[in-house]
Symmetry: C2
Subunit: 364 residues, 2 copies
């Protein structure tokens, strides 16, 4: 059995290794986001990254993937970023032979499977690789040392779920829910406040770590203003998980208190919320901030295979957290139920509701 | 069963995790070397490291432990280096408040257990930590980016055993041996040549990676000139392992061909050899190069516990390589035999024969 009913679930990285439920084998949703943003990143670098400024103080370009997990998506994204920077270098420095060297820092939580990440690094990579364990809600690098921050589908993660959700005497008590879908305003606000605090810390840390003229490119799930969270891709994914847990509580397979005390440490912001947080921080010029609809991969238009793939995706990402709270013995049943709910769900409407925020910032 | 009789054993990192045979629990010999060199490193930094030069181009001091394994020794060594640099900083910059930031790169082979290393990083560390997978026989970092290289008991490792040792038609064929103890000159020379090539590559790489004025401090097993290798601490350790394997081959538990094709990828140089290699490279000033006798820890003066501890130490360091070549099923028996041989050996004479080379270089 997992933790007691009065603690929040601990934050864990994705499933490691390369087994059936590993992130390495179940990261197509993120992989699709990587592809979808590939051209956008290339454009941002071509139009907005000034290598003359960056290379005036360094012969090395230092790149970070914040929340990289174990691959292979991170390697594709990094390759694209480096190739785009090299194209820009050729455009800015004609006839110069000495190209910059690249150092890439792969960052994720300490519980991430860095052994798997390292053993799957591309053998012919044109960069020096390093792994950096630690939360992006804090400093990770020395001052003024990073030229390019990249993050894909990570910035919706909170350092922890809001604590007031566990307080039975608070209007924010999140009884009978694992997230803020169809929740009272107090619960939504508790999540939004926790998220804002986390992003403030994130932006402060990155502002210190980046050189002037450095670029940060981030994409992550977003909630279009005016659309209820439950009707978004992410909201629907988690509502079905919640419903599976509630069914098991009704049948006595887990306790209600366990469900009440489990709250997902995630929040899906709107464009306006993110805009306000970046402006409040004040260290960055906003070069781009737009909602995108990356859709899903063509191989997933078959709704049944899409449903299965999404279930595996959620399992790869959240299994460790769920096991820590509910115990390992309920996990197979939970995901079997989750898969069944997906079969009955009109999930063919989901791709159109998958919305992300694509953000390009330049350090002032 | 392991690899065929015609391949050299693959190079593996130390045992990971924190189990009975893990490096983390069996690294006292290295730990003792860390302690023995603590003061020497402090002195080298105090006397020879010029922070004004280093900090004229960077606000960050970048430190590398080459061949760090999984801890805890590396954390103690790094702590000592940082404290020594901070003392030097105070001595060189009176009345200056802004101290430099430190970034520490923990390097070892990709097969090293970085997950264990990362999860045991000191929580209150005063530096930014990163892991760098890869062989020190090659480039690991961007040009001119490193201020301090440290390495303890790693530089005796070859990238591989010399290939000619496997050639039945060569005078270097290493039949009936796993190393060069009591071997013909051709075998010793093959090892020495392979070692020289590796150190040349190592020095070339570090010369490119280091900033001018940067310091490299290394200690590793050395062979005092005039003393046969078999009469040194390291030689004796490996001779007993060889003898255990030969006994098992005689009894048919492994094949003779398996022993013939297994050659330890290690070489213990003399001071003169290392001196010549550094001078040939030409990029470094030799501030110190001396033989030391670190002895063994006081807790090990009991010869029986010392024997046991050495057996565990060899197992933690070499088990993966031995399993890859001989198969896992013989490992327990091999180390039981090894332990017995140690009991019969006059190992109380060993501590006085433990000799290391302590080297301090400054990048020109």
């Amino acid at each position: 059995m997992g933790a007691s009913a009065t603690t929040t679930p601990e934050l864990y990285a994705m499933n490691g290794g390369d087994g059936r439920f590993s992130y390495a084998k179940n990261s197509f949703l993120q992989g699709h986001s990587v592809n979808a943003s590939k051209e956008k990143i290339g454009e941002a670098i071509a139009e907005k990254l000034d290598l003359k400024i960056l290379l005036s103080t360094s012969k090395t370009i230092r790149i970070v993937d914040v929340g990289c997990s174990v691959g292979p998506n991170t390697f594709l994204a990094i390759q694209n970023i480096i190739e785009s920077i090299e194209r820009k270098y050729q455009a800015q420095y004609l006839n110069i032979n000495q190209k910059p060297e690249f150092q890439v820092f792969f960052n994720d939580l300490t519980s991430n499977d860095f052994n798997t990440l390292f053993s799957s690094l591309p053998p012919n990579r044109q960069y020096f690789a390093a792994g950096v364990p630690g939360s992006f809600h804090g400093r990770l690098f020395p001052e003024g040392s990073i030229h390019f921050f990249y993050s894909c589908i990570a910035l919706h993660i909170l350092s922890k779920a809001p604590e007031e959700l566990l307080d039975k005497n608070s209007p924010s008590w999140n009884k009978g829910r694992i997230h803020y879908i169809n929740a009272p305003d107090e619960v939504v606000n508790a999540y939004a406040t926790q998220y804002a605090k986390g992003i403030e810390i994130f932006l402060d840390a990155r502002a210190k770590e980046m050189v002037s003229g450095g670029m940060a490119v981030m994409s992550f799930p977003a909630n279009p203003t005016g659309i209820p969270y439950s009707q978004t891709f992410t909201g629907a994914m988690f509502e079905l998980l919640e419903s599976s847990l509630l069914d098991m509580a009704k049948e006595g397979k887990i306790s209600e208190a366990q469900v009440d005390s489990f709250n997902l440490p995630m929040y899906v912001p709107s464009l306006e919320e993110m805009m306000e947080l970046v402006q409040k921080n004040g260290s960055f010029d906003i070069e781009k901030m737009e909602l995108t609809s990356p859709g899903v991969h063509a191989s997933m238009t078959n709704t049944s295979s899409m449903g299965k793939a999404i279930v595996m995706h959620v399992r790869a990402g959240m299994e460790r957290m769920l096991i820590q709270h509910f115990g390992s013995e309920i996990i197979d049943e939970l995901f079997n139920r989750y898969a069944k709910k997906f079969e009955e769900f009109p999930h063919h409407v989901l791709p159109s509701k998958k919305v992300q925020l694509f953000v390009v910032l330049i350090r002032k």
